[in-house]
């Protein structure tokens, strides 16, 4: 059991929770994730760790309500408990000095970008961050990102805030005018794919953090398998961070859609049961 100490509504669909989980906080490093299960009937879902606090022994998660599980989670309040909170899982990113690191966060992927940007900053890297969302009401943690970046750019697809367009546009500009040693991209698969295609042209090493469907998160089931450099890797134990130039993003996108139908069924049944207004449903 892990108690929700703090809940913050970042945008109507994106929520932050600070979880009392000393066993995860003590070991957590940037890049790692947790698997959680809300209740006895619940599924196990992976969420990348957005922040962790050794003193308070807490872990921060940020999630977008896209299906039943994230909506049920979003309905929990401070003081409520999550039945299983497992981690930290996966490998951490390599925290070292590269020079100039560009961190690109898209949508809810801004959250896991934050601890990586902070870690790179702490290692003395010059950090440029680019964050983007479909619309201003999906954007969050601008200030947090600014604090750990030397320079921050903000985009929205619809132009309701910051620069209109995609994060890749800004990234291309940065690559054209500046020497970049490493790009780190976290967000929707399509955004990580476009980022990786772009940086490949410039031959800039690029790390992406994948978020495929998982069950156990400990290498036992192989549900999260992904092709990296022509080889089959398990995201949960070999990743979640991989070389973006080696990842088969199209396969990953197909695999993320395996349960689209069932996810919709579960969501509809739950919305009916709780008589909630349906939120716009989408899966990246």
């Amino acid at each position: 059991m892990a108690k929700i100490l703090k809940k913050e509504v970042l945008t109507p669909q994106i929520k932050l929770m600070v979880i009392d989980a000393p066993w995860v906080a003590r070991k957590a490093r940037p890049g790692q994730f947790v698997v959680l299960r809300i209740n006895e009937q619940g599924e196990r879902i992976p969420l990348t760790i957005a922040d962790f606090d050794l003193q308070e022994e807490t872990v921060t998660i940020i999630f977008q309500e896209v299906g039943k599980t994230t909506m049920v989670l979003g309905d929990l309040e401070e003081g409520d408990e999550i039945l299983d909170f497992i981690g930290p899982l996966g490998k951490e990113i390599e925290e070292k000095y590269f020079g100039h690191v560009v961190c690109v966060g898209g949508g809810v992927g801004i959250a896991p970008t934050y601890p990586k940007a902070r870690a790179f900053k702490e290692k003395g890297n010059r950090v440029t961050s680019i964050i983007g969302a479909r619309s201003s009401n999906l954007l969050f943690w601008e200030e947090e990102m600014r604090r750990v970046s030397d320079e921050l750019f903000v985009t929205t697809d619809d132009g309701t805030y910051g620069e209109k367009g995609f994060v890749t546009q800004v990234l291309e500009r940065v690559l054209n005018k500046d020497k970049v040693d490493l790009v780190v991209a976290v967000g929707p698969v399509i955004m990580m794919k476009m980022t990786s295609l772009l940086t490949e042209k410039y031959s800039i090493p690029t790390l992406v953090s994948l978020n495929p469907i998982m069950v156990d998160g400990t290498g036992m089931c192989g549900c999260c398998r992904v092709t990296v450099g022509g080889k089959c890797k398990f995201t949960c134990v070999d990743g979640p961070v991989f070389d973006g130039h080696q990842v088969d993003f199209d396969e990953l996108m197909a695999r993320q859609r395996i349960y689209l139908e069932e996810e919709k069924r579960a969501l509809d049944a739950w919305l009916m049961e709780t008589e909630k207004e349906g939120a716009p449903y989408h899966v990246y």
């Binding site: 066993w23 599924e43 599980t69 299983d84 400990t218 549900c223 695999r255 579960a266």
Partner: protein
């Protein structure tokens, strides 16, 4: 000598057409009358060979004699001297390869149905309610058991009965290991596993679920918390894939994923339970072991119209229990033998649509003693399917192992451990079950857990034991 001996009873089971509609248990168990009659068939050999066939050396003639005299409580107590999980073993042990294969009666006729009798007695006791035995005075030593499968549960239970303070750490959210995520409800009801786990807890064993040793805590963290000995029983938890083209297409699962979704996550109760499991009309299961049978029979129960098993050798070489192959076939599973997948075919949306296979023939025996299957050139053909379960075995999960510096592994990547004690290369660290032997049986894992419990006791009480660790 009597000439009219009764014959071995058949296990009553639910008819196939009824049982494939649900996940309830298939065999129904013997009645007391039939069990006692079967016990009387045992000739009580002076030198019983059946015991040799039992990895935990149950006093088989002993318990059967008590049963034949109608002393059910005494009989189950006799089993429990050696085996703390009889309701499980009575269901999933391959008795035909173990105790029953050594039964003298089997030479001329049918061996005594030892497994059925064990199951009968365990169920008798379970229905009555199991009482925890009285425990010796507690000892001031803490032992950490990693993994709550058959090896870990047995080791923890035995140590607790000696008075040690034991904590089991389980990575998943439910205890039982393969007994809960792997073996389906229709073969091993989860209520039985839960009762066995409760029993171990009633002995004072502390159980911590959702704690991944190697990630959440390292072995050194546990040492800092005062644990002085360790038993690693994490199982062989890394699914093998065929490594042929198209294997990451949608609709292709490892048996681990398929069974974990269904068993542990209860996907068969979706959407009441949140975890889905997509099963199409036509399912192919690759493999010929018990896990393959479990997957095929699960697929039928989840609504598949057609289920086939694709196996590269013949039925004779299948590692699955004959009983399980028979039950699968009764339920309509079609065995396609001497066939090996070459690649998976898919549609434009990334879903599997077929398996290109090649026919095999049996060549010379390989190192396992089974004749090696070799492909017949030019014999490729396609099996159209929409779902595949790959059940070709598993290897050692490196997640924990790579976080224990100095732990010696064998050439297959499993933990190198003494066969008798489970002692590893690290002082105070023992290991047993599939993480040492590779995928084997529930009972052999239990046997290993049991031997390690005794070895851990010696480690604590005999300062001359394990000299290699004490320099």
């Amino acid at each position: 000598m009597s000439t009219e001996r009764p014959s071995r009873p058949k296990m009553p089971q639910r008819p196939p057409e009824e049982r494939i509609k649900d996940f309830n248990e298939v065999p129904l168990g013997l009645s007391e009358e039939v069990a006692v009659a079967e016990a009387r068939r045992c000739i009580q050999c002076k030198k019983p060979t059946c015991i040799e066939g039992c990895p935990v050396e149950i006093d088989i003639p002993g318990f059967i004699k008590l049963l034949s005299q109608g002393e059910l409580d005494g009989a189950i107590a006799k089993i429990k001297e050696k085996n703390s999980l009889p309701a499980i073993c009575g269901r999933v042990c391959p008795q035909e390869d173990q105790c029953e294969s050594k039964c003298i009666l089997g030479r001329r006729g049918q061996p005594v149905a030892i497994g059925y009798l064990e199951r009968f007695l365990a169920d008798y006791e379970r229905e009555k309610g199991v009482k925890a035995p009285s425990l010796p005075p507690p000892r001031d030593k803490k032992v950490a058991v990693i993994g709550s499968g058959p090896a870990g549960l047995t080791c923890a239970g035995d140590l607790a009965r000696m008075g040690y303070k034991v904590t089991i750490f389980e990575a998943l959210h439910a205890p039982g290991g393969v007994l809960v995520y792997g073996i389906p409800e229709f073969r091993l009801p989860k209520a039985i596993v839960a009762q066995e786990v409760d029993y171990v807890q009633s002995l004072g064993v502390e159980l911590k679920v959702s704690r991944v040793i190697g990630k959440t805590f390292t072995l050194d963290d546990l040492k800092d918390e005062g644990y002085q000995a360790f038993f690693i029983g994490t199982g062989a938890g890394l699914p093998y894939f065929l490594e042929v083209p198209g294997e990451n297409l949608n609709g292709i699962y490892s048996a681990n994923e398929f069974l974990t979704r269904s068993n542990l996550m209860k996907a068969y109760l979706f959407p009441r339970y949140d975890t889905p499991l997509k099963v199409g009309q036509s399912v192919a299961v690759i493999g010929g072991g018990n896990v393959a049978m479990d997957s095929a029979r699960t697929a039928l129960r989840l609504g598949a119209k057609e289920v086939c098993l694709v196996y590269r050798r013949t039925k004779k070489e299948m590692p699955a229990r004959i009983e399980e192959v028979e039950r699968a076939e009764e339920e309509g599973v079609n065995c396609i033998i001497l066939t090996n997948p070459v690649r998976f075919l898919g549609n434009e949306n990334g879903w599997v649509t077929g398996i290109e296979c090649i026919q095999m023939e049996l060549g010379e025996p390989d190192e396992s003693g089974r004749r090696r299957p070799v492909p017949v050139p030019g014999s490729e053909f396609v099996i159209p399917i929409d779902t595949v379960v790959v059940a070709i075995g598993q290897g050692p999960n490196p997640l924990l192992l790579e976080t224990i510096p100095g732990l010696q592994l064998n050439r297959r990547g499993y933990i190198a451990a003494d066969a008798e004690t489970g002692a590893t290369s690290l002082a105070g660290v023992f290991a047993g079950g599939d993480i040492v032997t590779g995928a084997a049986t529930v009972i052999s894992a239990m046997g290993a857990g049991k031997r390690s419990a005794q070895a851990i006791d010696r480690f604590f009480t005999d300062s001359n034991s394990f000299p290699e660790w004490r320099q």
